[in-house]
């Protein structure tokens, strides 16, 4: 009986993708002219192991390609051939090609043989000491699925879509998560293979989605590509469909491959902390500063760090079970306190021990979900290098705090906003070398990404030493648009705040990198949806700094329990400013505006929780209860409650799994006695209350 090799495919793909990430990182660090032999060895090892693996599994195209690659690398390793800019370029393209091949094989789709053989030809040419020619390429095939169509989406990316860090594959996959998606690809703009630029996107798609998907949801998928594509979302009449082709459902999508902790399709997911690879456009050998070190020891350490792959589902299940245990333990502790007698003391000691162990267990399980932010940072060296190249700027990328850990869910969603910020820094922030020299700065600009824990939060900073935000221009633009009155004077902070308004861009000309006025509002919305905040500071001529503050995890929140009548609600501590008791008579009534009270010189509206939620309170007199001053979306309000109960960390449970979204409520949690308490969403609550007031 033969061994079924397919069971090992998943692991092979995972490892190969990781290895390719390592190879890419190593390539970016490779000094032209004087390469570090250890780096070349690393690259060689990757090619070698992929070659071996793919030969074993019968992926002959990959094996053949990696063989040519290995030959070239062998030349480099032995020093028979110098590492030139051309060689480095071809090697980077090889990484892309291998990735595409692996992905195609993984999705059981045909390999783009033309692209492979062209690059293979280039490799052979280089080996033969000739010259290089640009390889041709096609864009990865999108995943496809079938369903009853109702929405029609026409998605025509501009050629620069890929170069700007957008990945149509990811968007299509996101769409297919919304509902069964039917896809038709339009390849008619595909130029002859000889003319194809691998960085350009020539394809367009027509998609159909079920009618119950919200239009807003569909459009949100394309948020990042707005301005880089033509997008039409139209509703089809019942039964109408332009798409006749039924394509098999999603297993073709790489994300649905069996192993769940998959590396996202964007080039990241390397365990190794990617050190900064500066991407100067011409003077590669000249400016490789100290930040290119550090990573190498961990690269070899990573190979035998004794890790295993576990699917996220299993971890979530584990978290759920532990959550249950914590509740049961709390119940037992409560019960144990009521016992009397000689053995009661022993029982209580045992219960206290149990509580400590439970807490440790819960923390360990939470930590399993945490991943270092290097998973996201690792995509930047390549991106910065390519962008700087195209814009004719010299940029050094500095990465610090890559080992800072945060929840996988947060990690997955912070990538796009960061890409956008970095792109902005490079395009708008850093000046061209001549300008920099004229103003007495080094010709190469620095973009710095930093991550660090701050209290219960994580702060990610993107800063540059460019020109800073141009206050005068932002202001005049805002005035021209009527966003600010002609005579209003604004503080610096208020001016910077303007860039987060939708459709706001000050770039003098629309470059192909940024400046179409998309973005900062989307960045802010994405960050907010994670429960975070974004701030900006800037100094003219010295640079600007964007700080994103994020919660460590989306699964747990520090909360203050409050009582209203018989109900218990949780107010997230992060939104609480202060809790206070109002004196009798300190509340004024505004006509039509409800009640207000004075707090640190401001008048804040009172939101009576019992009114908003329709429960019977213990007291309706404001001075008999308590007021929790809370802040959301920059507005402060006083939440009127009966009493404060205590502070605790609570595990957030979704109400939407079995019920639906409730405005003003972000989720639910299970209390020590097994009962359910709702968690307040303060910004949502403020919206509900102001709507009620208006009504």
């Amino acid at each position: 009986m033969t061994v079924d090799l397919t069971q090992f495919h998943g692991a092979f793909f995972e490892e190969s993708f990781e290895a390719l990430d390592a190879m890419e990182a190593a390539l970016l660090k490779l000094d032209i002219g004087a390469p570090d032999p250890e780096l070349i060895n690393t690259i060689f090892r990757v090619a070698h192991s992929i070659k071996g693996g793919s030969a074993t599994f019968g992926f002959s195209e990959i094996a053949s390609f990696t063989h040519s690659l290995e030959t070239l690398l062998d030349e480099l390793r032995s020093g028979a051939m110098p590492v030139s800019e051309d060689v480095s370029e071809v090697l980077l393209k090889s990484v892309d090609v291998m990735r595409a091949m692996l992905r195609a094989v993984q999705a059981k789709q045909p390999i783009d043989a033309q692209r492979v053989s062209d690059l293979q030809f280039d490799l052979e040419v280089i080996i033969a000491r000739k010259n290089q020619a640009p390889p041709t390429a096609a864009v990865p095939q999108p995943p496809a699925a079938s369903a009853a169509p109702r929405w029609q989406v026409r998605f025509r990316p501009y050629r620069e879509l890929l170069a700007r860090g957008n990945d149509p594959l990811r968007m299509l996959r996101e769409l297919s998560e919304l509902g069964e998606t039917r896809v038709q690809i339009d390849a008619q703009n595909l130029p002859p293979l000889t003319d194809i630029e691998p960085q350009d996107c020539h394809l367009a798609w027509t998609l159909e989605l079920p009618g119950e998907v919200g239009e807003e949801a569909i459009r949100q998928v394309f948020d990042w590509a707005e301005g880089d594509c033509d997008l039409e979302v139209t509703r089809l009449p019942e039964g109408a469909s332009d798409l006749a082709v039924e394509v098999p459902p999603s297993p073709s999508s790489p994300a649905e491959a069996p192993v769940a902790l998959e590396p996202p399709p964007a080039p990241l997911a390397s365990q190794e902390p990617p050190s900064a690879a500066p991407a100067p456009e011409a003077s590669a050998a000249a400016s490789r500063p100290e930040n290119t070190v550090k990573a190498d020891p961990s690269m070899s350490a990573h190979a035998d760090s004794g890790s295993i792959r576990v699917s996220v589902d299993k971890i979530d299940e584990l978290m759920n079970t532990v959550g249950e245990l914590v509740i049961t333990q709390a119940m037992l502790s409560q019960l144990g306190g009521q016992f009397e007698g000689p053995q009661a003391e022993q029982l209580r000691a045992g219960l206290a021990q149990l509580e400590r162990n439970m807490r440790e267990l819960q923390e360990s399980v939470m930590r399993v979900r945490m991943l270092p932010i290097s998973f996201v940072f690792s995509r930047f060296p390549r991106m910065v290098r390519d962008l700087a190249h195209r814009l004719g700027k010299q940029i050094e990328l500095k990465l610090t705090g890559e080992q800072t850990e945060l929840d996988k869910t947060v990690l997955e969603k912070i990538g796009d906003p960061l890409v956008h910020l970095v792109r902005n820094c490079i395009d708008h922030g850093i000046e061209p070398p001549e300008t920099r020299i004229a103003s007495g700065k080094p010709p190469a600009g620095t973009v710095h990404l930093d991550a660090a824990h701050r209290g219960g939060n994580i702060a990610v900073e993107v800063s540059d030493d460019g020109g800073g935000l141009d206050k005068a221009r932002i202001l005049s633009k805002a005035r021209a648009r009527g966003l600010v009155g002609a005579n209003d004077t604004l503080s610096d902070a208020e001016i910077y705040e303007l860039i987060f308004l939708p459709g706001f861009s000050t770039a003098e000309k629309t470059t192909d990198v940024s400046g179409r006025g998309v973005g900062m509002d989307v960045v802010r919305r994405n960050v907010k949806s994670l429960g975070g905040a974004i701030e900006v500071s800037s100094e003219s001529g010295r640079g600007s700094r964007f700080t994103i503050t994020l919660p460590l995890t989306l699964a747990i929140v520090d909360g203050q329990s409050v009582a209203v009548g018989t109900e218990t609600y949780i107010v997230p501590l992060i939104s609480i400013v202060e809790s206070m008791q109002l004196k009798n008579g300190s509340v004024s009534r505004l006509s039509g505006q409800g009640e207000v009270f004075s707090f640190r010189g401001d008048y804040l509206p009172v939101i009576r929780l019992h009114q908003v939620f329709g429960v019977e309170p213990r007291t309706r007199a404001l001075h008999e209860g308590l007021v929790v001053v809370a802040e959301g979306d920059g507005r402060r309000v006083g939440l009127f409650v009966d009493d404060l109960l205590g502070q605790q960390q609570v595990v957030i449970k979704s109400l939407e799994t079995n019920y639906g979204h409730i405005e003003g409520i972000s989720g639910a949690t299970i209390l020590g006695d097994g009962s359910v308490a709702l968690i307040l969403d303060v910004p949502g609550l403020i919206r509900v209350a102001s709507m009620r007031r208006a009504a």
């Binding site: 807003e216 939620f613 329709g614 799994t657 019920y659 639906g660 003003g664 359910v676």
Partner: protein, 175 residues
């Protein structure tokens, strides 16, 4: 009174097992395969802005499950919730996927085999609301049992809540 009766897989045999329960004077039946568990009454947590027959939510081994009072859903006279009040936890299929929920009933009676041929269509009862959630009527041991289509009865309520609110949330996010 166990929910662990194996479901009748022989759909072709035109017979299926139905869990019957009592509401006031009437007996109702639901497909046993939809029943997750049966549990006693415990106090629920109210949820704001919910339709009146959605009493609130309960913790069911770590997941949050809405509880529906069938008496209120059918506009029957309300009953007191006591220690013998029973919650049947069922799953419904909605456009948004599978959802679990509990219904409060007066008591659970039995698991019975129902032959499809014996099911009589429900009569038109005038304009008192849509009655398309009635699968039909069947007579078991001299009693009339009303067979319910819970996807229609409850699933529609739940997806209306989810659908309507989701759209709002997104619009609010964008603002």
């Amino acid at each position: 009174m166990s929910a662990n009766v194996p479901g009748d897989q022989q759909r072709g045999g035109e017979s299926r097992q139905v869990l019957t329960f009592v509401l006031g004077e009437e007996t109702y039946g639901v497909d046993i395969l939809r029943v997750q568990e049966i549990r006693g009454w415990s106090a629920v947590t109210k949820i704001p802005h919910a339709p009146p027959h959605v009493l609130g939510v309960l913790n069911l081994r770590g997941s949050i499950v809405p509880i529906v009072d069938l008496r209120m859903r059918f506009a029957l006279e309300r009953a007191e919730y006591t220690a013998i009040t029973v919650i049947i936890v069922m799953s419904v299929v909605t456009s948004a996927g599978r959802r679990d929920f509990g219904v409060v009933v007066d008591g659970v009676s039995d698991v019975v085999d129902v032959n499809a041929a014996e099911v009589k269509p429900a009569p038109e009862l005038g304009a008192r609301g849509a009655t398309d959630y009635l699968l039909g009527l069947v007579s078991i041991a001299e009693r009339m049992v009303v067979l319910l289509d819970i996807d229609r009865l409850i699933g529609r309520d739940l997806s209306a809540i989810a659908g309507g609110e989701d759209g709002d949330a997104m619009a609010a996010d964008a603002a």
